[in-house]
Point group: C2
Chain length 208, copies 2
Amino acid sequence: MDLNEKLILHEDSVSGNCYKIRLTAALLGRRMELIAYDILKGETRTPEFLATINPLGRIPVLQVGQRFLPESNAACFYLADGSPLIPAERFARADMLRWMFFEQYHHEPNVATLRFWLEFVGVDSLSEMQRNQIPGKRIAGEAALQQMDDHLALRNWFVGESVTLADISLFAYTHVAEGGGFALSDYPHVQAWIARMRALPKFVAMAG
Amino acid sequence: MDLNEKLILHEDSVSGNCYKIRLTAALLGRRMELIAYDILKGETRTPEFLATINPLGRIPVLQVGQRFLPESNAACFYLADGSPLIPAERFARADMLRWMFFEQYHHEPNVATLRFWLEFVGVDSLSEMQRNQIPGKRIAGEAALQQMDDHLALRNWFVGESVTLADISLFAYTHVAEGGGFALSDYPHVQAWIARMRALPKFVAMAG
């Protein structure tokens, strides 16, 4: 990494997707400037934000010099490229990405969305279309947590013998899943892995 | 890549997620054995499949020797690692992953799911919960296609000056999006890019 290239994280401190990037940077000992936005106030939907930072109107976005990188897991990959947080062995590297795609497809849309709806928006403020989706997201989120628990029954980390971006990516919304109404006590191997994550040197917690 | 290690793709020929892997292998000139499953007949939910191939009961799964790799984009990354289909420059490599995560989060759950529901399951066989989700998936799918069209207005490929896994990943369900009721004529830059994809040396079409 060009250490002279300035890093800015456009973020919201309550977002797990933003936290992934902060945790990756912390474990690598890499500094970033933080610029905060409030999603609920529409601060990522202004014409300036859409034109300059991310046409999707979403955070996080990692700014590298004058280039902008949306998608949390891609930003983590940029930061960690060449470090031990990405396995050097070819199959393990792809297997790490497998869990990161699992996170964005099976986990985040269910576990993170229910947390956002129930803890931050509030159930009374949801649209009917959103309320109709709660039961399906509950089932799918529980299935994702169960997959994680089954996988961790036999190993300490998702891929290989040490922490990788797969763990960081999945940790972000898992450790706050109770905010979405999920009972972590149902997943003892996940709970033990959460404790291992928290014990990592240079670990930083989520809330500001 | 260890060319002695046997590759087997567990797949369904009508799945765009499976096609991504076949297209990647074709562009690389890499042979794979194919084992076909019919999702609609539950052939990926048998106890044997769940125990051995993928506990999520989903295809594609790329088998590398005795190791199993689910998640289509991770399998593409495994095959293409070290090839020109993955940019050598650090930011571009992460930017390629950005579009692959975009594909799994913003595109596939909308564009691919509507194609599956409308073309393969049939609207009359959908559950009420599925039917309720159609309007939201229509809006989100159109937004994803519009993002792609805006991005391609200024460039030939999603990242850099040549085809990468980002193009392959997004091509899979975009070029058959009309099966989900999306009008590709609304996205002229996407249409031009589809033509460029089809003109690639060693390109293979989707259907068997």
